[in-house]
């Protein structure tokens, strides 16, 4: 089945053959993979998907991979959890957590995009993969490069959390810590990508890479029994994920795989200290004003998001909205999710939970409608954010009387 037409400029529609390029030569718009949906209709069915592996590759027909999957065979198909405890706490009827904090192998949704990008890097014959990253992508590129026996260059802001640096170094990449913000690292990588013939997953392989995010959306729909939720709240950094989840829903609808109307509203969640997309939404303008990030949510600290314009358009097109979360609210969000559902997410997840709570409390999201909260990264990578924020535990001598005393003290404290 010939399913791909090469690439197409999202802005001016100009066509390009399938190649490691990401920007239209004429208008600088982003290039996107162009599928032959007519050839896919009737071929990609609920049954054909269900017959696939329990991974993101069950949707391979809707991904820009021509040949065999090279790496990341077990990525995706993460749990979609009915979060009734959280729903009760929020005063809502139906809340779901799409939990990519347990995505294999590197504990974030970035494994989805990287599995596609590294597979494409192999198809294009590259021997080196690279990325600019705030951490999760670094972990994932280094891991999949190791699996694919490719060299890797990982560029990160030097002040990243130790956990994320270690969880990259362990795979033995060349890690380049840059003294600057993510946006500066990203700009540098654009220039490096222009000079060295490497597969930069989020630069020259971006059209392919970003398609991997669709699988997060496909899974939400399939796991809900081929229906769409009323509301999806998505953490935004570069702004790609929210646009790709929405694209996933539109693709499944176009292929006739969703029953009934799809009226899902998409919401952007960002930190107060780095929320240029949500600011666009609140001001209702399509002009992005870049910011200098200042937030504990370092994985979302992109002040000049590449897909900011499209993320804004997605919320606008779907009738959704956006919300900021302060650092305090982010911590509260992390603790709320952990306390109610037993899920330890990173700061980005705290942003999403906090933004969801605000959107519900302000009446933007009705309490009786179905809500999916996107949890995209694991809390064990960023324990730094919680140091000093949690109460000390009970310390006792190894004697029953010491424990009896401690328990009595605890009871009197809570009484």
């Amino acid at each position: 089945m010939e399913k791909l037409n090469g690439l197409r400029c999202r802005e001016c529609g100009r066509r390009y053959p399938g190649a490691p390029v990401h920007v239209c030569e004429f208008c600088f718009g982003p290039l996107e993979v162009d599928y032959r949906y007519d050839a896919l209709k009737g071929v990609v069915t609920r049954e054909s998907i269900a017959a696939g592996p329990p991974s993101m590759w069950r949707y391979k027909d809707l991904l820009p991979v021509d040949g065999d999957v090279a790496v990341g065979h077990h990525v995706g198909f993460t749990p979609l959890i009915r979060a009734q405890n959280l729903a009760d706490e929020l005063g809502c009827r139906e809340v779901w957590i799409k939990n990519d904090s347990v995505c294999h192998p590197s504990w974030s949704f970035k494994d989805r995009v990287v599995a596609v990008a590294v597979t494409k890097a192999r198809e294009f014959g590259f021997d080196t993969v690279a990325c600019a990253s705030t951490g999760n992508l670094a972990n994932s590129v280094a891991a999949h490069a190791a699996e694919g026996r490719l060299k890797s260059f990982i560029f990160i802001p030097a002040d990243l959390e130790q956990g994320k640096i270690l969880a990259t170094l362990v795979y033995n990449p060349t890690l380049v810590a840059v003294h600057g913000t993510y946006d500066e690292v990203n700009r540098l990588c654009s220039e490096i990508a222009d000079k060295y013939r490497w597969a930069f997953v989020n630069v020259n392989l971006r059209p392919y890479y970003s398609e991997g995010s669709k699988t997060y959306g496909f899974e939400i729909v399939e796991q809900l029994g081929w229906r769409t939720p009323a509301h999806i709240i998505v953490p935004c950094a570069g702004g790609s994920l929210i646009t790709k989840i929405w694209k996933a829903i539109k693709e499944l609808k176009a292929l006739g795989l969703i029953d009934g109307p799809t009226a899902t509203k998409m919401y952007a969640a960002q930190a107060q200290g780095c929320g240029p997309i949500v600011t666009m939404i609140k001001n209702d303008t399509d002009v992005l004003v870049p910011v200098r990030p200042s937030t504990i949510a370092k994985s979302l600290a992109i002040g000049n998001p590449a897909d900011g314009y499209y993320a804004y358009k997605t919320t606008k097109e779907t009738g959704g909205y956006g919300e900021h979360a302060t650092d305090e609210e982010i911590i509260d969000g992390m603790l709320l999710l952990a306390r109610t559902e037993g899920i330890f997410t990173e700061t980005a997840g705290g942003v999403t939970v906090a933004a969801t709570r605000k959107l519900i409390e302000t009446g933007v999201i009705p309490r009786h409608e179905s809500i999916v909260i996107c949890i995209t990264g694991n809390g064990l990578k960023t324990p730094d954010a919680l140091y000093g924020r949690l109460d000390a535990h009970v310390k006792i001598k190894p004697s029953l009387s010491a424990f009896d005393q401690a328990l009595a003290d605890l009871k009197s404290q809570t009484a």
Partner: protein, 92 residues
């Protein structure tokens, strides 16, 4: 006042394949004028009909995004380095 300008791949068909060129200008706007004199057609690729920088182009003066400076009016001096970079890149 010569300034070094880094040209991204999509614009090198206009700069005869050069990845770096010398140009002059008191400001970024003046620099764009000079680039267009040297390489006709470059201006319309960088700015739209109303003279605003296109949505998918970022310009940096000495590694700083000009939107954090004075945008098109950002002053240039001898020896500055200017990078023209497609805006679409990155993820996290």
């Amino acid at each position: 006042m010569p300034v070094l300008v880094r040209i991204p791949t999509p614009l090198r068909s206009i700069t005869k394949g050069q990845s770096e060129v010398q140009a002059t200008g008191d400001t970024v706007a003046g620099l764009v004028d000079d680039l267009d004199r040297q390489f006709p057609g470059l201006r319309e690729r960088l700015v739209d009909e109303s003279g605003e920088l296109r949505r998918f182009i970022n310009i940096y003066v000495n590694e700083e995004d000009i939107r954090f400076l004075q945008s098109k009016k950002t002053a240039l001096k001898d020896g500055d380095q200017v990078s023209i970079v497609p805006a679409i890149a990155g993820g996290r």
